[in-house]
Symmetry: C2
Subunit: 385 residues, 2 copies
Amino acid sequence: MQSTLLARQRTAPEVRRTTPYLALDPTVVERRFHALAAALPGAEVHYAVKANPHPAVLEALVGCGSRFDVATPAEVRAALAAGADPGDLVCSHPVKRREDVAEAHALGVRLFVVDSPAETRKVAQAAPGSAVLCRLATTGAGSEWPLSGKFGVSPVQAVEILLEAARLGLEAAGVCFHVGSQQRDPEAWAAPVRDASRVLAALRHSGLSPWLLDLGGGFPARYSHDAPPLAAYGAAIERALQEGFGTGGRPRVLVEPGRGLVGDAGTLVTSVVGVVERGPREAPVRWVFLDAGVFTGLVETLGEAIRYRLRTDRSGPTGPCVLAGPTCDSADVLYEREPVELPLALAEGDLVRLEAAGAYTSSCSSVGFNGYAPLPTHLTRDTGA
Amino acid sequence: MQSTLLARQRTAPEVRRTTPYLALDPTVVERRFHALAAALPGAEVHYAVKANPHPAVLEALVGCGSRFDVATPAEVRAALAAGADPGDLVCSHPVKRREDVAEAHALGVRLFVVDSPAETRKVAQAAPGSAVLCRLATTGAGSEWPLSGKFGVSPVQAVEILLEAARLGLEAAGVCFHVGSQQRDPEAWAAPVRDASRVLAALRHSGLSPWLLDLGGGFPARYSHDAPPLAAYGAAIERALQEGFGTGGRPRVLVEPGRGLVGDAGTLVTSVVGVVERGPREAPVRWVFLDAGVFTGLVETLGEAIRYRLRTDRSGPTGPCVLAGPTCDSADVLYEREPVELPLALAEGDLVRLEAAGAYTSSCSSVGFNGYAPLPTHLTRDTGA
């Protein structure tokens, strides 16, 4: 039945749904999982549920043998509902609500991230006996220490925190870090892996037996700016691990891809609400208004951080356009500083597809700001991905 | 019954609800409505539903005799459900979905904003015979023309658009503008009122009979930075209207306050998830993590644009703190560039109240990013406002 429906969709792509919506293809998630697993042999893959918690994504990944990275009891329950084993979850949020730690523990989670003495005590009390990873801050190029940053500590502090964890009856499992989402430089893992190797060596020197290194996420989706293939990430990380740990002392390794698995699996399908010219007649600026925007799933366009690839059914000459969302809010503008190129023939009612929009879209949609409903998801194999 | 409950809440404020939530007091909205109406005698007040569409807010305002500013059919239906008359609504969104225009028209809306020839044709087709206002772009100080800007046209373009509207069978009612949300300068209305008077004079010269001037919103809530009292806005606007139209030719005037009516009526009540020190030991930075953040109603802290006043139950010495939200997302940081002063005794589990959080919070909350539920609203008279 389902495959018949899918086949019909493929043969009749002109059947139009109400926009906006996220067209999500779980088979792309599966392909990306296998590609990443192949690029990182020996690493366990824990999908970061926050990127897209749709049950079809989680179920497809359970079928692939994926593990999961979760932050909250709601994410734990979503992973378990999809068939995951609680022992295969890492709760990687470094500053958690105490009741959330207790609830995750009650649901069977036994691996938590910390990055402060207070959080270590919290986990020791709310999830006694669990294993913990301490999160390292990542150093920016040419910077000795990131002077701000929401999560992470120095290697020296990590050693102290993990020694304290052991004193509190926790298992000092190792360290984790995050090189930043949509990381386009495969060499970004090299320095934090070196830091991690120093922390693990110091812990061993103190009589502990750390065994786990969590390399975080950062693997890219295919947006407008090219990123290297996953194989380049695998090769760079393998070099870093060899340099950091040699052949004998390498810990078990896990990664936490979110965007890297689900980003390319979604297409955000929007319609043009209007095309208008702004500014003086002698130098007009073309504005294209879509029916999805910052409050309907495109929050990552804030600051023009994530630049989605655009696809339309129009051909012919193109011109620069400012792209705006549907609400009355003046902040609901997607790309203005660096306009997008769109066909000049684009008109009201035309579809504009934002590709590689599977991550951080549907779950980030507002509950209904300005009367625009939350972004729905439709499962399909017709994402154009 | 309700007043008994409210009395109990006032006498027993220590009864603790699960955080985070928005504590919303519709009686504050009523007070602000009457204060604004008194400051602007003769102006019709149309509450901007997008600021907070909670039924209790809309019903309280209907009781005050308020009219409404809406953008979408969902907002039209919310206003009608609260008892508003469709003839008292202005659909002030300048670029609307065609089907939304038709639906609003079917629901009885007869006043629409446009700011382009294409939108004018759209309204003429989807809401034939309606009255239209053309939105003017507001000029920044020292700027002849805003080179970007999502909405609004020049006075010359507005005249052309309204003449075209009349040719298409629409009623060229007048013009509207918006001086920017949380406008702290009451003189900001002076220049656009002058522009408006030129447009209306030109239309009269062409034989039309424009009769309406929509002064938009921009009236402030009480955040960290002081804004003048509403009376100062009323006085400045009255001066501008006298200068622009004299005593005889003044059009009917309406305003569209959102934040100015509902902002002060809400308190976002959060709990401290953790307090940690970041950075090197010799110069640590104190981070306070709350259980509400950018994805749970505090989207207007992005760029640190809106600075809420904070209140805690702790006393004693204070120090600068970075304030962060609960999700794993590194963008979920409320105030970092300019830290907030909070008691050094503040600890996990303490309440932190963000005051004047009634506008653009609950309706902007995400559907559940990272497993954090959307921000709920509790009606109360104990907002501390």
